[in-house]
Each structure stands twice: as structure tokens, then as C-alpha cells.
């Protein structure tokens, strides 16, 4: 399959008191046409900054891409000027955001906000754009699209607003849709509906989706591949089916174990990852996960592990072999127990 997006060694920093603070530090991954890739990680792992870098929106928010390439459809986005980038944004690459309440302009109607997304990139009259907007609203499953066009964001519910956001993002048939935690602010039933909608639209429009989430459950549900990020670095990239069967990185394992399950035994304590993500201006010297990792050794604390290929995946861990073996014996033991 052809690659729609290739991110190579991306480094993005924000201006701080003494120079740049790197929120994303040497991240590489790719997305294929028609594929859904999830970026998973805790808050502060650099997921959003990665997406904002692809959109080149970081530079409006005191940030800057310091190094690396972002190849979209064969063209490096980091070399584009503001006007070239503007033409790509919202037309070939669209983005939907976390908080549908604050992500829509409160003083303009839904119709105005959707139709303007079309008008920024396509030549047509306002009337035609409004008709297209109405079609988009029914496409994303909003009832009474004609009435909705005249409503303001505050007159809609959270789920409806996120549908409006999606309609806006789809206005120009983008090839890549970046969804930055699109369901975090919604309740579970609405979350399921929105995720289902995204899946349906991806198939219909043959677009790729880069879904950012802190919920590995959502990632497993939605994606073909999963990228695990931690403190601005990629920890593991793998096919979704592989990752749930057998994580290769201790952090991935910890994330998977912290998901509550319905069939878990009552009264057993839910696992959580001890400690918290390091602050970007006092990162550990070696592996960034080392301070919280049960397997960490002297080497982990002093040297940063590179992201290397291992059985059809990529992992950044010094002890990957040991970790896999240990996991195998654990699984074996569990198997024995069941028998």
C-alpha cells in the first residue's frame, strides 16, 4: 500500500526561558492510504504536539518544528511556506479536536462555519456551500440538517457539536483526517457513536485517519496499527492485533493492564502505572520510561534505547528480549493454571 504520510525524526519544541523545550523528540512513523493509526500515550506524551506539527499549527502557538521531515503525498510539509500550508490545511489534511464546545466559534452559526471551510478551498457561491453543508450534516448523522445550519454551537449537545466538527473536517474530502481525542469530552454511548461514524466515513471516503487518544481501549477498537508514545518519544509501533496479544514494551503492557475489564475479579485492585510522566525540562538521562519501569537497569538509566525493528514491529527498549521471554513464561503459567 502507498504511504500517505511519513514522519521522519520529527523534533518540535516550544519556546521557554532558556531555549526550546522539546515536546516531541525524534518521532518517526508512517500512515498508509486508508489506514487508521492510533497514537496512544498519557497526557504530556507529545501526541497532540505531533498532530499540531503535521498541521504546522505549532508555530501559531509559540512552538516550532526544529528538525525532521513530514512527507505528505510525497511532499515535505516542513518546507512549505504559510500560504502553501494554508491551502493544504483543511483541504487535504483536516483535523478535529478534543473539546467540541470550545472548538467551535460561539458567535457564528453552524451553517456559516461549515460552509466557510468549503469556501476557503473551493470556488462556489455561499448558497451552494450551504447546500453542501446541509448534505455534510446529514452524512454525519445529524437530524434536521436544515434547522441545524441556522443554529449556534451553544444550542447543540456535545455529541452533535462533534458531528458538526467532523462535517467541517470532511467538507473538502481530505485524504488524511487527524482526530485529536475526539471523544474524550463525550459520554460513553456518544463516544461509541462517534467512533462508529469515523470508521464508516473512512471506508466511504477512502481516507486515512490518525487518531490520537489516551484510551488504549479506543485505540484497539479503532486502529490497524498503534503507536505508543511516552514523553515525546515513540516506545512501540505495532499492528493492533499483535499489540493486544503481546506487548513488546513494558510501557505498552502497563497501559494495557490499566484498562478496567468487565470480567475482572471483583475486589481486585485495578493496576496503575506508578509515578507520573516526567516534566519536559527535567527528562531522565537514559530511557524516559526508566524511572517508572519495573525492568529498569543501570543501562536504562544512563543510555537512551533506540527504536529498532523486532518481529514486524518497532520497539525502543534495551530489554525487549528479556521482556518477551518473561511475558511468555507468565502466559505459560497462566495457561497451566487454567488447565
Amino acid at each position: 500500500m502507498a504511504k500517505i504520510l511519513e514522519v521522519k525524526n520529527l523534533v518540535t519544541g516550544y519556546r521557554g526561558k532558556d531555549g526550546f523545550i522539546k515536546a516531541v523528540d525524534g518521532v518517526s512513523f508512517d500512515i498508509e492510504k486508508g489506514e487508521t493509526v492510533c497514537i496512544v500515550g498519557e497526557s504530556g506524551s507529545g501526541k497532540s504536539v505531533t498532530s499540531m506539527s503535521i498541521m504546522r499549527l505549532v508555530e501559531y502557538e509559540n512552538g516550532q518544528i526544529l528538525d525532521g521531515e513530514i512527507i505528505f503525498n510525497g511532499e515535505d510539509l516542513t518546507t512549505k511556506n504559510a500560504e502553501q500550508m494554508r491551502k493544504i490545511r483543511g483541504s487535504k489534511v483536516s483535523m478535529i479536536f478534543q473539546e467540541p464546545l470550545t472548538a467551535l466559534n460561539p458567535v457564528f452559526t453552524v451553517g456559516k462555519q461549515i460552509s466557510e471551510s468549503i469556501l476557503f478551498h473551493q470556488k462556489m457561491t455561499k448558497q451552494e456551500a450551504l447546500i453542501k453543508a446541509e448534505e455534510l450534516l446529514s452524512l454525519v448523522g445529524l437530524s434536521e440538517p436544515k434547522t441545524r445550519l441556522k443554529q449556534y454551537p451553544h444550542e447543540l449537545s456535545g455529541g452533535m457539536r462533534q458531528r458538526v466538527m467532523i462535517a467541517m473536517a470532511l467538507a473538502t474530502n481530505p485524504e488524511l483526517l487527524i482526530a485529536d481525542e475526539p471523544t474524550t469530552a463525550l459520554d460513553v454511548t456518544i463516544e461509541a457513536q462517534i467512533l462508529e461514524l469515523l470508521r464508516k466515513l473512512r471506508e466511504q471516503n477512502d481516507m486515512s485517519i490518525m487518531l490520537i487518544t489516551h484510551d488504549i481501549g479506543v485505540a484497539v477498537e479503532m486502529s490497524h496499527r498503534i503507536i505508543i508514545m511516552y514523553a515525546g518519544k515513540v516506545m512501540e509501533i505495532s499492528e493492533t492485533s499483535d499489540i493486544i496479544r503481546k506487548p513488546y514494551h513494558p510501557y505498552t503492557k502497563a497501559l494495557l493492564e490499566s484498562v478496567p475489564t468487565m470480567d475482572g475479579e471483583r475486589g481486585t485492585e485495578l493496576k496503575s502505572i506508578k509515578g507520573s510522566i516526567p516534566s519536559l525540562n527535567q527528562l531522565p538521562k537514559g530511557c524516559r520510561f526508566a524511572p517508572r519501569c519495573p525492568l529498569a537497569t543501570e543501562q536504562c538509566h544512563s543510555q537512551e534505547p533506540p527504536l529498532v525493528a523486532k518481529d514486524n514491529r518497532q520497539v525502543a527498549c534495551w530489554h525487549v528480549d528479556k521482556f518477551i521471554n518473561q511475558a511468555d513464561t507468565e502466559q505459560g503459567r497462566e495457561g497451566d493454571y487454567v488447565e
Binding site: S91, A103, N105, P106, H121
Partner: protein, 316 residues
């Protein structure tokens, strides 16, 4: 909407009543009376006769009752000084004040918003620092002093602009002469509200620029001009409109000083004349008119506000 307006007008009636009451008692507390301001050679008997003729020998509360009764019927009384009806004296001078304040509002609001937006966009750079510095200066320098300096510079030294007066009216009216007369008063009067509008627009704009929806608009591929001047400014103006409403009373009190400095014969300078000569009916009349203007302008601001912000549409 109509119910809202009626409700507000109802509240205004109460407000007007309180304002007139306070003003009436305060002006009567001021030492001296209409006779005190008159020629010195009048004998005590003559003064007493005048006091009785004007009804000033009555207790204040009785006089207020009489004044209120007349005012409610649309009669604001007769000026002590000129023996003309108060209404006539006010309406002779009111148009000049309206000219001055309308021009000042238009000037301050347009310039203030533009400068405020520039300051916000250039945050932390030289332009922003310069604008902030100038705003503080503009706020702290008293307008009577600045007015006199303007007269010294532009009228006395450079002889570009007339030092005072409203310029020829009627058939002799000439636009250039008119503008020459009005420009200094407008600039000086603007100083009472312009720095506030600049500072408020700046902070409001800065807050809006960091909102999520601005990021969304950029993500949609909007030109930077549309991002700032259509999406951001429209939101940033909502609080600025409220501030303009609050600033209008300040503008009217500023007009008192500005009109006096520039010999601009509006009601601002009239109220000074009236107060100095203890012309009670005239003071009361002007108070009523100014209160009415403030009340109405605040009502207009609230109506505009509900037009600009769809979230407050149901304020009725």
C-alpha cells in the same frame, strides 16, 4: 425583546427619580444661592425680594415636590439667569454636545479597536510596548492640561487651529473651518475613553486568540486576516461593547471639561455656568437630560450586545 426594553425603561424611571432627588438636595446644600452670585451692590432687601419671587424661602422638600410635579408634566421651569425656559436653553446647546460626543465615540471606538488589535497581535514587541506606554500616559494626563498644551502648540505657536468656539453656523457654515474647530475638542475628549478601549480590546483579543476555536479556524485553512479580523475580533468585541457602555457617562463628564477649555457651547459648559450662578432649575434640567442620555445609551449598548453575542439572545 419589547418586554426587555419596557422593563429597562421602568427601571430607568426609578433611577431618574433618585438622581434628581440627590442632585436637588446637593445643589441646595452648596453655599450661597442665586442671589449670592449677583452684583454686590444689591441691598439685603432687594435680595430678599428676589428670594421670595423665586420661591426660595420655601423648605427644600417642598420645592423639590413642586419641581418634580412640574417636571413630570414636561415643564422643567425657567432659568433664574436668563428668564428663558430651561428646555429652550438646553436644546439651544444640546446639538453641540451631541456633535462633539458622537464624533468622539466614532473616533475613539474605531481608532481604539484598531490600535488594541495591533497591540494584541504584536504582543511583546516594540509596537505593543509603545501602545501600552502611550495608553498609560493618555490615562494619567489630565485632559484640562493636555487641552491647554494643545491650544498652546496648535493655536498659539503653529496657528493651525482656532483655540476656541464652535465655528460659524447656518449659512456661513464651511466644512473645513468646522473640522478645524472640532478636531482638538474631539481628540482631547477622546483621551477620556480611548486608552480604556485600547487596553480592553488588547486584553480581550489576547484572550480570544488563545481559544480553541481560533485553532480550529486555522486548521480549516483560513487566511490569517480572516482568523484575526472575522473570527477573533467578532468575539473580542463582545466585552469591549460593554466597556463602551460604561465609558459613555465618563465621556459626558469629560465633555464638561473639554467644552469649557475650548469654548464649545454645549451643555457641558452650560452646566458649569448654571452651577456657578446657582441657577437651580437649569442645573436640574441638564441633570435630567444627561441622565436620560446615559440611560438610553446603556440600553442601546445592551441591545447591540445581544445582537453580537448569540448566547445572550434570550435576555428578555
Amino acid at each position: 425583546m419589547l418586554r426587555f426594553i419596557l422593563n429597562r425603561l421602568g427601571q430607568s424611571v426609578v433611577l431618574m427619580l433618585i438622581v434628581t432627588m440627590i442632585t436637588f438636595f446637593l445643589i441646595n446644600l452648596a453655599p450661597g444661592g442665586p442671589t449670592g452670585a449677583m452684583r454686590m451692590e444689591a441691598s439685603p432687601e432687594e435680595r430678599q425680594a428676589i428670594i421670595e419671587r423665586l420661591g426660595l424661602d420655601q423648605p427644600v422638600i417642598v420645592r423639590y415636590g413642586q419641581w418634580l410635579g412640574d417636571a413630570l408634566q414636561g415643564d422643567l421651569g425657567t432659568s433664574f439667569n436668563s428668564s428663558e425656559p430651561v428646555i429652550k436653553r438646553i436644546f439651544d446647546r444640546l446639538p453641540y454636545t451631541i456633535e462633539l460626543t458622537v464624533f468622539t465615540v466614532i473616533f475613539s471606538v474605531t481608532i481604539g479597536i484598531i490600535i488594541g488589535v495591533i497591540s494584541a497581535i504584536k504582543r511583546g514587541r516594540a509596537q505593543d510596548h509603545f501602545i501600552n506606554f502611550s495608553s498609560v500616559i493618555g490615562l494619567s494626563v489630565p485632559s484640562f492640561w493636555l487641552g491647554l498644551m494643545f491650544i498652546l502648540l496648535f493655536s498659539v505657536e503653529l496657528k493651525w487651529l482656532p483655540a476656541s468656539g464652535v465655528g460659524p453656523r447656518g449659512e456661513a457654515f464651511d466644512l473645513v473651518t468646522y473640522l478645524k474647530h472640532i478636531i482638538m475638542p474631539v481628540i482631547i475628549l477622546s483621551m477620556t475613553i480611548l486608552p480604556n478601549i485600547v487596553r480592553f480590546t488588547r486584553s480581550s483579543m489576547l484572550e480570544v486568540i488563545s481559544q480553541n476555536y481560533i485553532r480550529t479556524i486555522r486548521a480549516k485553512g483560513a487566511k490569517e486576516f480572516i482568523v484575526l479580523y472575522i473570527h477573533a475580533l467578532r468575539n473580542a468585541l463582545i466585552p469591549v461593547i460593554t466597556v463602551i457602555g460604561v465609558l459613555i457617562p465618563r465621556l459626558l463628564s469629560g465633555a464638561v471639561i473639554t467644552e469649557t477649555i475650548f469654548g464649545w457651547t454645549g451643555i457641558g459648559s452650560l452646566i458649569i455656568e448654571a452651577a456657578n450662578s446657582r441657577d437651580y432649575p437649569l442645573v436640574m434640567g441638564i441633570t435630567v437630560v444627561i441622565t436620560l442620555v446615559v440611560v438610553l445609551s446603556n440600553l442601546v449598548v445592551d441591545l447591540v450586545y445581544s445582537k453580537v453575542d448569540p448566547r445572550v439572545k434570550n435576555l428578555a
